[in-house]
Amino acid sequence: MNWIFAIAFSLYILFGTIIAIVSRKRFEKTIQDYYTGGGRLGALLAAGTYAATTYSAFMMIGLVGMAYNTGVGALGFELTYLASTVFLLSTVGREIWKMSKERRWIAPSHMLSDLYNSRSLGILASIVYLFAMIPYLTAQIQGLKFVFGYGGIGEGWALAFSATLVYAWIFVAGIWSVAATDLYQGILMLFSGLAYLAWAIFALIPSSGSSLGNVYEALGTKGYLGITGFWSIGTFLAYTLPWAFFAVTNPQVVSRLYLPKDRRSYVRMVSLFFAYGFIYTLIVITVGLIARGLTFSPSISKIIPNNLSNDSVTIYLLGLMAPVLGSTIAVSIIAAAVSTANSIVLAVSGSVISSFLKKRDLLAARSIDALLVIAAALLAKAGIGFIVDLSVITSMILLPLAPITIAGIALRGKVGGIGKGSALASLAIGVSIAAYYAFSLGPKRAFLVQVMGMPISALVLLVSTLILLAGLAVEKFYKISSNS
């Protein structure tokens, strides 16, 4: 066992648990408060939970590796996501926040059900969340095995620690303990990211006998500062489209829009999230590019091999660091996964409870939370590769929710029978197309293959949007005809 990691991890749990317990004094022990804090969160808490929920372990593990393997295109993909998100937060998101104050939604499926006045739509959305988010949750828990592995902790203990931590900080006070620990974890993630970058620039590069200028020169010469072969326009669109709509499709972030207490808090939440996302993205991409640049080092003893997979770059670099720094960064990756995972559990359980149960109380909420965490831990233990692979296309499966959410907010719930039917058909058919290609091609290939000359994510978005718009247009025409 790596004792420095064990100490860092224990301190992380200790401070997080103290913060979760302290947050209980704000908790009013109602179901509304459990899921949304009664819409009473200040800007800092709301921004902290939005950022920590959005940015999972993918950033420090997957995105560092993606920049290392595919070059600066990874920056374009991630910053296009950020630009789209702030655009959506300033338009649709703002309306969602305003309407949530009047309508007291507790979860995104509750919101859709209310906007379309259709319980069936809420139920279908909840089923889609379960189908799409459990693999994502499983991937978060399973991914932590590798980070715990750095600390010398075996798989069984890693799964037990991950599942317990995810559940415990929800159990204490629902969204209040989740948001408070998310803020703490978000700060830890950002400062660890900065330390990671500083280490790469001031320790890793000099130790290889190179300089930052040389690294960038090598990257430019080898084409990593341009569009590499991986980032064909089709692949760029396939990756970017589902993420561009992330803010209105993923339940864990949509439900964050119900939290800010007033307009000022909402605006500050968006400002702080944007600043956080911008800095964090630049840090992560720069580290990945430096790692790639050092593989071209002319030095005989190359520090970094040139054939690492996306997920193993950060794990490899952790092994090169001093144990204190390596352990701190490893703990920050655990924090990123835990803060995303418990927000997913809370959002999915809120959706399930609002769609399927008439009796909505804290016991039911906590029981569903526990079932979700146990299911994800068991799936992670089973190690079914396909389940984890499926998490890659979670955002593609959720993509049909984008037109439904945007139209529902624009129409402010004024939707008739044809509109409801088209929303249901749009969601069912869009998700079926994404699932069909995920199963027939395999989730990873589903991003790279084109169908009818377009990426599958574009096809999913196009088909679901057309079905919805056709239904709404017919309904409008029908109304005009019957009025005249």
């Binding site: 910053l79 341009g226 569009i227 909402y266 911008f278």
Partner: protein, 55 residues
């Protein structure tokens, strides 16, 4: 104002796709890095100034 804002944001997002693939495909320096960073920064600043102005 809302229509102009939405048009401006959609233009920035379109440029984030189109300009790299049209003009910066073969970049050898930091131009692509700088372009994507400044586009995203501009999108963020626009969003925040819009949010502060609308009721």
């Amino acid at each position: 104002m809302k229509k102009a804002y939405i048009l401006a944001q959609k233009s920035i997002l379109a440029c984030m796709f189109l300009i790299p693939y049209s003009f910066l495909r073969e970049a050898r320096g930091i131009e692509l890095f700088a372009f994507w960073s400044s586009s995203a920064f501009l999108a963020g600043i626009l969003a925040l100034s819009f949010l502060k102005r609308v009721e």
